[in-house]
Symmetry: none
Subunit: 205 residues, 4 copies
Amino acid sequence: MISKEEHILLHAEELFAEKGFEGSSTREISKMAKVNVSMISYYFGSKEKLFVKIFELRMNESLTFSKDILANENLNEWEKLMIVINRYADRVKNLKTFYRILQREQLNNKNPYIAQFLHESKKGFLSIYSELIDKGLEKKIFTKKPRIEFIHSTVSGTIFTALNTLPVYKEFFEGDEDYEDQYFEEIKIHIQNILKHLLGYEEKL
Amino acid sequence: MISKEEHILLHAEELFAEKGFEGSSTREISKMAKVNVSMISYYFGSKEKLFVKIFELRMNESLTFSKDILANENLNEWEKLMIVINRYADRVKNLKTFYRILQREQLNNKNPYIAQFLHESKKGFLSIYSELIDKGLEKKIFTKKPRIEFIHSTVSGTIFTALNTLPVYKEFFEGDEDYEDQYFEEIKIHIQNILKHLLGYEEKL
Amino acid sequence: MISKEEHILLHAEELFAEKGFEGSSTREISKMAKVNVSMISYYFGSKEKLFVKIFELRMNESLTFSKDILANENLNEWEKLMIVINRYADRVKNLKTFYRILQREQLNNKNPYIAQFLHESKKGFLSIYSELIDKGLEKKIFTKKPRIEFIHSTVSGTIFTALNTLPVYKEFFEGDEDYEDQYFEEIKIHIQNILKHLLGYEEKL
Amino acid sequence: MISKEEHILLHAEELFAEKGFEGSSTREISKMAKVNVSMISYYFGSKEKLFVKIFELRMNESLTFSKDILANENLNEWEKLMIVINRYADRVKNLKTFYRILQREQLNNKNPYIAQFLHESKKGFLSIYSELIDKGLEKKIFTKKPRIEFIHSTVSGTIFTALNTLPVYKEFFEGDEDYEDQYFEEIKIHIQNILKHLLGYEEKL
DNA sequence: CATGAATGAGAATTCATTCAT
DNA sequence: AATGAATGAATTCTCATTCAT
């Protein structure tokens, strides 16, 4: 059974994704969640605190996301990198709603708490890429040393642009109903292909 | 000499970039532009019309953007592609402010006029990529046929993510004051590198 | 105990009667009703909806007004006609405030909903007059057949002009404080007198 | 050749008739008259002074209206009364626009100058009716002495209600395009008929 | 714990008028 | 004498939040 609080939160996430923070009114949230307006202040303190709560919820879900992978001794660096990126792509696809909010917030830089969050999260990815690539080079799995920023810009950028532009792609290429799912699978391979090239990685037989 | 109308428009662009459409109040715009609040309605009709005006202004600036390049008979497809992409990257860098607004509007889909604009603009890029790549393949300049969507996702995504994440990169890699300009020059080469790989293009000596 | 909503409505009616819709500001209404300005939007949605609400309230009060009289088998057509007109005159006198608004709205034709309302209401009176006079002629109670429009113009016109011009009459003829009440009683007899003449009706002994 | 001032005035009259004083903005007036907004303040001082100017213009046109008739020794009182009333009806019909404004202003009582004007005008009619009826009774042309207020209420009321309700009449009785002109001619006879009855006047052969 | 009526600050816009030219 | 750009007061309405129950 879902709690009333969570119920509000999920509807709020949806509305924030669609209309942004300022564009979403507490009235509309409360109408969608079919609760009284005052419930938002009651449960979360304020509209802004509700917003932050959504962030915390989703971000915490992915906190332990990569640590275990990095620590796994049965995987080599290329495999680890692929798992991190594939999981990331899946996550973005599955939490479309939330990642819309996140992208907007990246542009906003308004709420300092969230800004900090995003900042750290990005630095986290940069560290992971740094560590994996350095180790891979040491082990000679990788033969080229690219700028980490480029890796990040291309990986994240490709995933998010794919997500945001999908409807246009679908129309332009007259895709069927499975287009989206297929596209997201193939884009992982596309990224993998690019990374192989950038890192000079050769799959062994 | 800059007109009062243009003066307001430029300040509005800045604020919209920073806080979004809903997040920017006419009061604040007028305060920034040091004019009376009513001037916005007076010159533009409404806050929304001002917003659209900014769009029209910037988009019209880039209307004839690519047509002349495609028509140029002295360039081969690879060269054309590079020029289109490099110009795009430069433009995004130079009009940072506007492209923040544009990115947000991509997420919003609220104003139907602007939504249409963006939609067409994207389809325009897809056509250009399609045409150039097909011709390049015909002429055997390119040896691989990638999905056009992938090209678009990666090119646009890399540029925009670079733009948005630059402050984080700068901090993480302790970049100096020239970091930004250098980064934007190098990212063009990075994209070029990826495209060479994806298209199977080999530079002739 | 009167509700806050009704309280606002009554004060608004008064102000609308005095100054018209456009001439009455929400601020002034709220000041008169001693409530916060936002209460008007809160309770009624908008100033205009409040206005329409007043109309609906007063018009609904008089909906069943005439039907029961027309159906009464113990009254002849002359008696029915007199009751309809006398009730109308009384109503106009008792709801002076509302009928000021109504008269103005007749001149305005702005709000389509209200325009429709008034249109139907007038057609209702024309039907009643038509029916009663035709039946009265059939039964030979009436001996002359006047144009229904004339009956309507004269009956309604006399009542409303009396209402609007009363202060002038009172001053001109130096009426005492009972002048108004007496006048309204006598004007009913005056109308009756005219109608007897127009319909060729002879009271039987 | 019409002056610019008069040009504005006529367009303003039209708009005031349609939307009332508060409902008509100087911008709209200026747009209708195809002049700059500031012209209204420039020529008339203010919107309100323009409004009063319209009143003065139309009222002055009818100032000498009745005096000459009353003084005419070749007409008896009944004939004079008929001329006064017929002219009034014609005037109301011909200056529909202005009389819409006037009727609204009767309900408003806002501008004290205009209120005074209307007050005096009505008292003027009451005097004329008084004088003519008293003299007619002296001369035994009239055999009944009605209340002057009733005469006024019925005459003015019938004319104005006819004017305002004509569209409804036309629809209800499916009148053709000449309906309005015919109606206004017949209503004069209708009023004459009523007055004969009220004054006990018998036409001599 | 939960509600919903009520609040007042702030939003965008329209308005009549003024002022420099 | 005439213009039109510019003004700031006032308008209606929406908003997040509070408070009594």
